[in-house]
Symmetry: C2
Subunit: 194 residues, 2 copies
C-alpha cells in the first residue's frame, strides 16, 4: 500500500512536470494532479527536491531498462546511431524530454539540485561507455580517447539536443541531424577501423 | 550619452546574471548593481525580457567578433578543435558560460524567451557552418550531411557542455574531452579525406 502511494506521488510529479514545467511543479500542484493530500509528499519524500530527483530517477530507470538490451545488441557505430535516433523520438513522444529539460533547466537556479541531477547521468554514461567500447573495439580512436570521455560527449550532446528541441520545438535541423548521423555512421565506422 | 546609459544597463545586467543567476536578475537587482534608477530599464528596453535578450546578444557579438578571424584561419578539423577548446576556456574565465547557461535555463520557464534565445544561436551557426564547409572541403562527409546540420550538432553540443559544466563545475571529464578532441581531430580529418 505504501509502495502504491509512493508510485502515485511519483507519477503525479512526472505528469505535473510535463504539463506545468519546473516552475509550476509545486507540492500543491502535484497533490492536485494526483488527488492526494500534500502532506503525503513530505511524509514519503521529505522535501520537494527529493521528490523531483526520485521522479527523474524513476523515469530514467524505466528507460534504461528498455534501452539496455537494445544497446547490448548494437555492434557498430551505425547501429548505435539508429538506436540514438529511436531513443530520441521515443523520448519526445513519451514526454521524457520535457521532464529532463525542465529538471536540468530548473536545477540551474537551485544549487542543491544541480550536482544531483548530473549524478543521475551516471548510469547513462556507463551504458554509453560499454556500447562505445564494443562499437570501437580495435579502432585507433581508443588509443587517443577513453570510452568514458566519448560517452560523456554523447550524453552532453544529448542534453544540449534536449534543451534545443524543448526551446524551439519546430527546429527541423535537429530531427534532420539524426538522419544525417545514421547516414554518416557507416562511413566514419569504416574510416576509423582503417 | 544615451548610448552610454544603454551600455551601462547592459553591463549591469551581465554582471547580475553572473553573480545572482537568472532567478536573481530582477530589474531592481540590475539597477542596484549599476547604480541607476530602475525606471531607466523600462525607458531604454521596454521589458526585462528585452533587456535580457539585449545583454545576451551583446555578450555574444563581442565574442563573435573576437573568434571570427581565428575561425576564418582554421583550415582543418584539428585547428577547429583547438579553437573550440580555447573558446570554451575563455568563456569559462569571462563568465560568459554562466550568462548563457542562466539564460538558456531560465528561458525554459519563460515561453516568450525560449525561441528568441535560440535565434541568438544563428550567427554562431553561420560561423560554424562556414568553418565546417572549409575544413571538410572535398570530403565525402559533405555528400551525406550538410554543413548546416553539422554546425547545428556543434552548437548543440556546446550548449549541452555549457550546462553540464555549470551544473557540475568540478567535472573533469568535460575539460578532458577537449584534450581528447584535439588529439582525435587529425586522425578523423585524415580518415575522412580518405
Amino acid at each position: 500500500m505504501s509502495g502504491d502511494t509512493r508510485a502515485r506521488i511519483v507519477d503525479a510529479t512526472l505528469e505535473t512536470l510535463k504539463t506545468k514545467g519546473f516552475a509550476g511543479t509545486s507540492t500543491r500542484a502535484i497533490a492536485t494532479a494526483g488527488g492526494f493530500n500534500p502532506a503525503l509528499i513530505f511524509y514519503y519524500f521529505g522535501t520537494l527536491n527529493e521528490l523531483l530527483l526520485a521522479a527523474l530517477e524513476h523515469s530514467s530507470s524505466e528507460r534504461l531498462d528498455r534501452y539496455r538490451d537494445a544497446l547490448d545488441e548494437a555492434g557498430s557505430l551505425d547501429q548505435l546511431a539508429s538506436l540514438l535516433g529511436r531513443i530520441y523520438r521515443e523520448d519526445v513522444e513519451s514526454g521524457h524530454i520535457r521532464v529532463v529539460s525542465e529538471l536540468v533547466a530548473g536545477s540551474v537556479a537551485v544549487p542543491a539540485l544541480g550536482p544531483r541531477v548530473i549524478e543521475l547521468m551516471e548510469p547513462w554514461l556507463e551504458l554509453a561507455e560499454a556500447a562505445i567500447e564494443r562499437a570501437l573495439a580495435g579502432s585507433p580512436v581508443l588509443e587517443l580517447a577513453t570510452p568514458r570521455r566519448l560517452a560523456y560527449a554523447a550524453v552532453t550532446f544529448y542534453l544540449g539536443a534536449n534543451l534545443v528541441s524543448h526551446l524551439a520545438p519546430d527546429q527541423e535541423d535537429l530531427a534532420g541531424l539524426l538522419d544525417d548521423a545514421a547516414r554518416l555512421a557507416p562511413l566514419i565506422d569504416a574510416a576509423l577501423r582503417g
